[in-house]
């Protein structure tokens, strides 16, 4: 479709969408002009993903009109949207782990490589390699997706969305729902380059909770709140504070990471690593963690920090060195062992390892600590409800009720449930594996507050995070890992926070 500058490529008017018990979208209208990147921000549960899913044909709107290149249209299915030139990178990881990268990239669009009903794999993999090159990911397209780390998977998903370029004609619309939440800065750079480079052919909607990124990449920004668009502004005129105020309804606290609340930690050691090592993942890692201390681990992919956290979670037992929890040397060969010594693990893969999606909020919150609820071998259901309700209140989880399935909560709210689970289990040590991934700024603040409160009561925390900024802002102590060993260690008490640059120095 030829699109003159002012005429919108995509226009939505009065879009309505309700789910059982939730009105997710209220009369939403939004425009996207040629070659434009539109930022979309809003709290968890504001309705961003729902809107994106409607645009990509996954959901059908209850009401409202969608115009593509001036013509009213509807997206019957994801495939249909794809045909009409709308592609999407989904918020949750959406690669099929049992298929190869190449198969994933062209899943659903193999037709172009099919002759007489037979798929020409050589051709498919060849062009898959080209797609991967676009996003500068250097993996063999014949690799199984399961073998890839999160960031790479995310890049592959981007590559997948970009295949539109090849098989759809005319001006494209590409929807990016929190594509950066699992990416490290270098990869984010690549992503942004690609987006800018493609502006000639495509318009983008970019959803993210990292407001600075949104400001950096977008031309125009829509702010959503409780299912409605509450503001539209030019990126040039906006700044983080305004966006934040529009989203949350109140101003951004000066002290984002609650640094004043950061109390000096206690003297007693709750966790000690002594020359800990596992395979070629990491080796002779030693440090002490004290009650009330937040220890941030910085490091790029492959630095070994991911494996280290998995070890502390009981998913990848160590094979060298000593691991001492509360004075006792332990080997955590299953998560159960970890829970037994009061470790709580907030995993990266929220929907897989964090929550049983098809179980109620209440059941998830009490899962690790069911023992406490057992009276004469029977679970005290009343007590369970009460507990769950108090946590839902305290963490402001947006849910129809404690009996609702976690499945239907928005990403951010799901994460709050995971946190509630461990806080309720009275974990003495929390392993926070990218705890604020996918959380909106408001929710983030709440999480920080919770973490501070917990540490105030003597809970120790090990933190690996998406952004250095967060690691630094939150931690008492920061250690940096590279290629499996600890390369740097620094205190990070208020006032004396290290700066990002020299940390990066030790990371790469």
């Amino acid at each position: 479709m030829s699109a003159s500058a002012d005429e919108p490529v995509l226009a939505m008017a009065g879009i309505e969408k309700s789910f059982p018990g939730v009105r997710a979208l209220k009369h939403v209208s939004l425009e996207l002009r040629p070659g434009e990147v539109v930022g979309l921000v809003g709290e968890n549960g504001a309705g961003k993903s729902t809107l994106m899913k409607i645009l990509s044909g996954v959901y059908q709107p209850d009401a409202g009109e969608i115009r593509l290149g001036g013509r009213a249209t509807r997206f019957a299915s994801a495939a249909d949207a794809n045909r009409q030139g709308v592609g999407m990178v989904f918020q949750e990881q959406s690669l099929l782990l049992n298929l190869t990268v190449g198969e994933n990239i062209y899943l659903g669009t193999e037709a172009q490589f099919t002759r007489l009903g037979l798929v020409d794999w050589r051709a498919l993999y060849a062009s898959a390699t080209r797609q991967l090159a676009k996003v500068q990911v250097d993996v063999d397209p014949r690799t199984r997706a399961a073998a890839l780390d999160f960031a790479t998977r995310q890049m592959v998903e981007l590559a997948k969305a970009l295949t539109l370029e090849e098989h759809a004609s005319g001006h494209l619309v590409i929807l990016l729902d929190e594509p950066t939440s699992v990416l490290e800065r270098p990869e984010i750079e690549i992503l942004f380059q690609r987006v800018r480079a493609l502006k000639a052919r495509a318009s983008f909607i970019f959803v993210s909770h990292r407001l600075s990124e949104v400001l950096e990449l977008s031309d125009r920004i829509y702010v959503m709140k409780d299912g409605a668009v509450v503001a539209e502004l030019q990126a040039a005129e906006a700044d983080v504070k305004t966006l934040h105020r529009l989203m949350v309804g109140r101003g951004l606290q000066a002290e984002y990471y609650r640094e004043p609340l950061q109390k000096p930690f206690g003297a007693d050691v709750v966790l000690e690593l002594d020359g800990l090592g596992r395979g070629d993942a990491y080796r002779d890692v030693s440090f002490k963690l004290h009650a009330g201390e937040i220890l941030g681990i910085a490091g790029v992919l492959g630095s070994g920090r991911e494996e280290l956290t998995r070890t502390l979670a009981g998913l990848r037992p160590h094979d060298r060195g000593r691991l001492i929890v509360g004075g006792r040397e332990v080997r955590l060969s299953t998560p159960a062992d970890a829970v037994d010594v009061d470790l709580g693990y907030v995993p990266r893969e929220r929907r897989v390892e964090g929550l049983v999606l098809f179980l109620s909020v209440a059941a998830n919150i009490t899962l690790p600590s069911l023992k406490q609820l057992a009276r004469r071998a029977l679970i005290d259901l009343g007590e369970e409800q009460r507990l769950a309700k108090t946590w839902v209140e305290r963490l402001k989880v947006r849910t129809p009720g404690v009996d609702a399935l976690c499945l239907n909560l928005s990403g951010g709210n799901q994460q709050k449930v995971v946190l509630a689970k461990w806080l309720n289990a009275k974990a003495r040590i929390l392993i926070l594996d990218h705890p604020t991934r996918g959380l909106d700024v408001g929710a983030k603040e709440e999480v920080y507050e919770l973490v501070r409160a917990a540490t105030g009561e003597g809970v120790a925390v090990i933190l690996t995070s998406d952004t250095l900024e967060e690691t630094i802002g939150l931690s008492h102590t920061v250690i940096v890992m590279r290629d499996g060993v600890v390369t740097y260690r620094t205190p990070a008490s208020p006032g004396a926070k290290p700066n990002q640059v020299d940390l990066i120095g030790h990371m790469v």
Partner: protein
């Protein structure tokens, strides 16, 4: 700098994966070989050419049935209608070809309607399962009963002798030392292999097994794939029915008895996961052979009848335990 670091890391990881998977794929074969060695040691006759032919004969029907079942299982569903379709098609075939009950004599032509019947039952499985959103387990259990019921009603319980030389030839006439039926089964394997690896349907079956919602997000026509797969399975079962009828020289609604569990067992022994997404028709071939060799060896090794089922059970556990790759199959259901 970093990107290279990443690249290197990923290369290492994927290399490890590739190795591991290759091992996982070959383990069942090793088990099969081991099994053969053991039996051969107990009774050298096992290695006789004649016996290989007989094992092939014993394996041809389970193989064809297993191929159909594999696709359904890869998709994460289950198909219990095996015996129903098999009996129905055997009965219909016996009534259409030269037989001892009526004057029909359509010869090879009779195969077409039989295949159509198989396809039809499979199609119904799929449509009901998708349309009414009933679990495939129940849907196909239902069609199993219905299939046997119809077969019964057609024959009123009697057995019909098949005199058609062509059909009987499948079991009796040989080509390069193997009965034509075996060649037919191998042809089915080839077709199944191509469908699995070189068609979109094949990929989509894996995709559904790997994660149905995600597959849908990628715009895969989930419903159509399900229906097609069940239909395909139905056709394979019908072929199984034809071979069974050829082998026993008769059509009867009991002819499918006991085929269901042996089929699924073979598929699972081959290493295809009942949870879907993992496995292949070649693995099913191995699984079928393992089971066939076991049964054959059971007699050759003089295991007393009362102990046979038990011993077979233990052997199967051993076979699967040896061939499952614990790292690939983290969760086992």
């Amino acid at each position: 700098m970093t990107t290279q670091a990443l690249g290197a890391d990923k290369k290492a990881r994927s290399a490890r994966w590739a190795l591991r998977r290759r091992f996982a794929a070959w383990a069942p074969v090793a088990v099969l070989a081991l099994l053969c060695v053991i039996i051969a040691l107990i009774n050298p006759n096992f290695l006789s050419a004649g016996n290989f032919v007989r094992i092939a004969q014993a394996a041809m029907i389970p193989l064809v049935l297993g191929l159909g079942a594999t696709f359904v299982i890869l998709m994460g569903s289950i198909d219990l209608s095996v015996e129903g379709v098999l009996s129905l098609s055997a009965v219909i075939l016996s009534l259409l070809v030269l037989n001892g009950a009526n004057s029909n004599d359509f010869g090879p032509l009779a195969i077409l309607p039989v295949l159509l019947v198989g396809a039809a039952v499979g199609f119904v499985n799929g449509v009901v399962h998708v349309g009414l959103k009933t679990p495939s387990f129940m849907t196909t259990l239902g069609t199993w009963f219905i299939g046997v019921g119809v077969a019964n009603a057609l024959l009123g319980g009697t057995a019909v002798r098949i005199n058609d030389p062509f059909i009987r030839g499948l079991a009796i006439e040989r080509f390069l030392g193997l009965p034509w039926g075996v060649w037919l089964a191998l042809a089915c394997l080839a077709v199944a292999f191509v469908i699995q690896n070189n068609t979109r349907l094949g990929r989509y079956v894996y995709a559904l097994g790997g994660g149905e919602e995600l597959a849908a997000l990628s715009g895969i026509p989930v419903a159509r794939v399900r229906v097609l797969t069940f239909t395909l399975a139905g056709v394979f079962y019908a072929i199984g029915g034809i071979l069974a009828a050829a082998q026993l020289g008769l059509g009867n609604s009991l002819i499918g008895n006991g085929r269901l569990f042996s089929t699924i067992t073979a598929v699972v022994v081959g290493g295809t996961a009942l949870s879907g997404g993992e496995g292949s028709v070649l693995q099913t071939l191995v699984g079928v052979l393992i089971v066939a060799v076991l049964n054959n060896g059971m007699v050759l090794a003089d295991v007393p009848p009362s102990y046979q089922i038990g011993v077979q059970g233990l052997m199967i556990i051993a076979a699967v335990a040896l061939s499952i790759d614990r790292n690939v199959m983290r969760i086992v259901k």
